[in-house]
Every structure is written in C-alpha cells, then in structure tokens.
C-alpha cells in the first residue's frame, strides 16, 4: 500500500520535458548564457513561441532545429532574441554597482592615486538604447562628491545599430525602463517630457560619448585604450565561438591591468578566455585582467 502511494505521488510530479534541459545546454554552449531552473518555464515559453512560428509540435523537433538543421545558427539567434527581449532597463544589475562602489573603485583609486592619475575610463560595449551607460553616468555622478572627488570619469558607449544609438542620444524613456530607479535619483536626473516620458538630464547625457562601433572591427576596436572597466551585457551571446574569442581578446588588451570586464547576469566566458579570471563579489561576478605580477 505504502509503495503504491509513493509510486502514485511520484507519477503526479510534472517533470519538465528533458529536451528543455538539452536546449538549455545548447543555449549555454553556443551563447554562454545560462537559464536557471527558476527560468526554465520562461525558456519553455520562449521555445513554444518559436515552435509556433515554425509550426513544430514538440520540443524534440525544435531541439533538432537548433542542432541539426543547416540554418541552426539563425534559429539560435531567433531564440536568443526571444530570451533577451525587453530585458534592458536602468539600474538593471545593482550588485555590479555595489561591487564597484565598495570594492573595485576604492582599489583603483588607491592604485592610480599613488601615481597621481585621477582619470577613470569606462566603456559600455553594445550599449543598445543607452540605459546602461546612463546608469553608469548617474552612478559616477552620485560619487563625485565623495569617493570620486577630484576625479574625471569618461563613459564611452558604443553600439553597432545606428537607430539604437539615435534613441540613446535622445535619452527619452518610458516609466517601464525606469522601474528600478529610486525616487531620489528619478527626481534629480530625469526631466518629464511629452507622452508621460522622461529625458535623462543634460548633465548626465553630456558625460556619455556615444559612437557607432562594430566589436569585430579590429582596426577601430584597438583604439579603445586605457580602460578601467568594460561592461558588455547580453552582447557576446550573439557571437559565434571565434568571434567571441576575438572580442574577448580585444577587451583584454583594451583594459588596464587589474581592470574588470562585466557581463550580463547569467553570462559566462568559460572556454573562451584564459587571460581573464572569474572573480566573485557579493551577488555578482566579473572577469579580472590580472596584472603582470602574479
């Protein structure tokens, strides 16, 4: 009796389709972005959307589509677009900013200060419509009276897409993009404009330099020199293996020793770089470019 009960209760547990986990592994292998168990139903939902578009009936068929068909790379891109769509907003990764404020900036300020350098260079690579570089600009502005007193901070922001850059330069956003902004910051740095939208204040906008740049364009990327920090969130997931390797190598030479590369929340460089080292801060990770002295 007891055993029957146990068997019945096991049968009642709805297990996710095993192909879903295989799709998760493919997405991680190809794009380096991990879908946690918490997001597995989200992943399923996004797969179902693609299956509908392709008139497929099972995850097994869709798995084949992602792995065996000639156009599999295009389909992975489609799926990634579904996974990352609408993700960007202001103050998206507070733990990254906290690590900067508490651990990274004090160390950089001390090291550079000893050499009488008082300039910080930060790059938002693949800045899309500008939420990330403006977040950084606000963040540094807020520290200008304390930690960064007397320091000059340059925020460079690049993207491949000219239309995104145009929107970024205008700096006009809906409430939804500002959902993580505290009332205090909202009041200080956002000005109401038409249609219930808000524009980033002039002081914050003027601090960010926007430029069009293809991360695979070697001849131009090499000019991004002397950087302390690079932010590249949910961008590299779209590159294939060799392109990813190349971009990571560029970031490495763009950064100063002891500089950091930040990726999106569940992105990983595993297998793509031996030069960077994964390090942990509370609730976030980053890739460190170790100094020559080890």
């Amino acid at each position: 009796m007891l055993q029957t009960n146990v068997a019945a209760s096991c049968a009642a547990i709805p297990l996710p389709d095993p192909f879903l986990f295989r799709i998760r592994d493919v997405v991680y292998q190809v794009a380096g972005i991990f879908q946690s168990d918490e997001r597995i139903t989200f992943l399923e939902d996004r797969c179902l959307r693609r299956m509908k578009a392709l008139s497929l009936r099972s995850l097994a068929e869709y798995f084949d589509c992602l792995t065996m068909r000639a156009d599999r790379d295009a389909e992975i891109r489609n799926l990634l677009n579904e996974i990352t769509v609408g993700e960007t907003c202001f103050f998206r990764y507070p733990a990254q900013l906290e690590a900067l404020r508490k651990v990274i900036l004090p160390a950089i300020i001390e090291a550079k200060g000893k050499l009488s350098f008082t300039r910080l260079r930060v790059w938002s690579a693949g800045c899309s419509t500008g939420e990330e570089p403006y977040t950084l600009s606000i963040f540094f502005q807020e520290l200008q009276q304390s930690l960064l007193r007397g320091w000059t901070v340059e925020v460079l922001a690049t993207d491949l897409n000219e239309r995104s850059l145009e929107r970024a330069r205008r700096g006009v956003y809906t409430d939804y993009a500002l959902r993580n902004v505290t009332p205090d910051v909202h009041q200080k740095y956002f000005v109401p404009v038409e249609n219930g939208q808000f524009q980033v204040s002039e002081a914050i906008r003027s601090r960010v330099q926007f430029n069009r740049l293809n991360l695979l364009d070697d001849s131009r990327v090499i000019f991004m020199k002397g950087l302390d920090l690079v932010f590249c969130c949910n961008v590299m997931i779209y590159f294939d293996g060799s392109a990813k390797r190349k971009v990571v190598q560029h970031f490495h030479s763009n950064l100063l020793p002891n500089g950091y590369l930040f990726l999106g929340h569940s992105e990983s460089l595993f297998g793509y770089s031996n030069d960077f080292r994964l390090v942990h801060f509370p609730e976030t990770t980053a890739y460190l470019k170790p100094s020559g002295l080890r």
Binding site: L2, Q3, N5, V6, A8, S9, C10, A12, I13, Y28, F34, S36, D37, E38, E98, A99, K102, V103, I104, S266, E267, S268, L269, F270, G271, R277, L278, V279, H280, F281, P282, E283, T285, L288
Partner: protein, 281 residues
C-alpha cells in the same frame, strides 16, 4: 564551554550512521532510532516534504521517507533535525534562519563541489558543510554580549566574521567550534574542517574535505547566504589556497566551469531558503 548543551544520546549513533557508506546502514535500525523520538520524527517528515527534496505529495511515515527519498537523503535530514533541536535558538545572538540557511547552503554546495570535482565522499562533504560553523553557536552562547557586538561590528565594517571575532574575542568560531566538536567526540576529519575552514593550508587529516568546505562557505557568502550582511570583498577562487588543495588531489577540478556552477547553485539557494522557512516557521 560548560554553558553549552551536552551531547544528546541520539547524536553519536547518528554521526556513525553518517560516516558509513549507505549500503552498510541497517534501515530498520535507523528508522527505529528516528521513531524513538517523536518530535525529531515529526520534524524529519516536515523536511522530507519540503520542495528541496523534491516531494510534491506528502510523505507521512519515516519508512515512507526512506523509500521515497533514499537512505542518503534521509540521513541528512535526520542529522539536521537533531542539530536544530539540540541548539535552542532563544539564546542565539545570530538570527537562526540566517545561520541555518548558511549551514544548509554550505552543506548542499559542498556536496555539489564534491560531485563535480571528483571528491568521492559526497555524504561526508555534506555533513562537514553542515557542521562547519558550529563555533558560531558556541560563541553566541558562551559570550552572548560580546558576540552580539562582534556581529554588529563585522556588519558595520563589512568584514568576514572570523576576523572580527579574532580581534574582539581572541577566539574565532573555528577554534571554539573545534573545542566543542572535540568535546562531543566528532570524527577527526569533521573536527579538522571546523577548526581549519578558514586556514586550509594547515589541514593534515583530510585536506580536500576541508578545502571543499572552505570554498563552499565562501561561495555561499558571495551568493547571499552568508551571515546576513554585505561583505565588502572580492573572492578569487582560483587563487585561493583551498582551490590549490582540491585541484592537487583531484585534477578533474581544473575542468570545472565555475561560472555555470555558480548560476546552478543559485537555484539550490532558492530551494534552501524555502526549506528553512518551512521547517523553522
């Protein structure tokens, strides 16, 4: 150390159950041992029914739990229940939820680290992870006022707890935990983990075990299952002496995708939180 509870009679047979390979444990003997104590049996069932152990339908007897969960899981649940009851939380200066989330988190992660790095004694890793911070309770009970201050200062300065304990009490939770574990006659390697999880290089009895717990402890603290406050620091696992110890004994660890491992552990952490809140409600 006199202020501390004496070891209950059920604990020592349990520890020896845990120290043995699963296939050598006598199931009847174990279920009898559990059933002999009503409140432990009840708490065991509550844990067995938590989502952490994957149950969606109620398990309503100890035997049912053995069948549904397997002996290995049940042993873990059992030792956890005994510990939780053993240490009356009214006297604690640290929030018991925070403490147990950290301890269970570390246990779970130590097992996963063991599995992925090729360390064979995964059950031992779990037990060692669960017990590694015993000294926090010892300090909390033996120096109630001072320890409260230590916690407060550590939180304000955002520094690791053991550093602040060393400065203010002259004894950190690793040392006091080891004293207590010795008094309770825990196995030698567990005592070593407790004593040296912040100083792995000194380990002699079972260095990889101590190293695995050290890494798990730090990963927990970096993923929000620490002592309930922000620690302002960078953890560079690959430069940690504990990492060198693990990879030396288990070269397979070099292939560990630490980023993915971290993301996967976040899923466990969510489950641990819900389990701890279900059990200690």
């Amino acid at each position: 150390m006199e202020a501390l509870p004496t070891v209950p009679s059920i604990l020592r047979p349990l520890i020896s159950f845990l120290d043995e390979p699963v296939d050598r444990v006598d199931v009847d003997q174990l279920t009898e041992l559990i059933a002999s104590d009503n409140s432990i049996a009840a708490q065991c069932l509550r844990m067995a029914n938590s989502p952490l152990y994957g149950r969606r339908r109620a398990v309503d007897s100890i035997r049912g739990a053995v069948i549904a969960l397997g002996l290995a899981r049940l042993r873990e649940i059992l030792i956890s229940c005994v510990l939780v009851r053993l240490l009356p939380s009214q006297k604690w200066k640290i929030n018991p939820t925070v403490f147990w989330e950290h301890s269970f988190g570390c246990a779970m992660m130590a097992r996963q680290f063991a599995l992925r790095t090729g360390y064979p004694h995964t059950d031992k890793a779990y037990l060692a992870g669960l017990l590694h911070d015993l000294g926090i309770i010892a300090n909390s009970v033996v120096f109630p006022e001072e320890f409260q201050e230590v916690l407060q200062h550590a939180a304000e300065k955002e520094v690791p707890l053991h550093e602040e304990e060393g400065r203010q009490l002259g004894i950190d939770h690793a040392e006091s935990g080891a004293l207590l574990a010795g008094q309770w006659r825990f196995p030698e390697e567990i005592c070593e983990v407790i004593r040296l999880h912040h100083d792995v290089q000194q380990a002699r009895v079972n260095p990889p075990l101590t190293a695995i717990v050290c890494l798990s402890d730090q990963l927990c603290r970096m993923r929000g299952l620490g002592y309930g406050y922000y620690e302002s620091r960078l953890v560079d696992f690959f430069k940690d002496p504990a990492w060198a110890v693990v990879t030396k004994e288990h070269p397979q660890a070099h292939g560990l995708d630490m980023a993915r491992f971290t993301f996967e552990m976040d899923d466990y952490i969510r489950e641990i939180r819900s389990m701890v809140s279900a059990v200690f409600r």
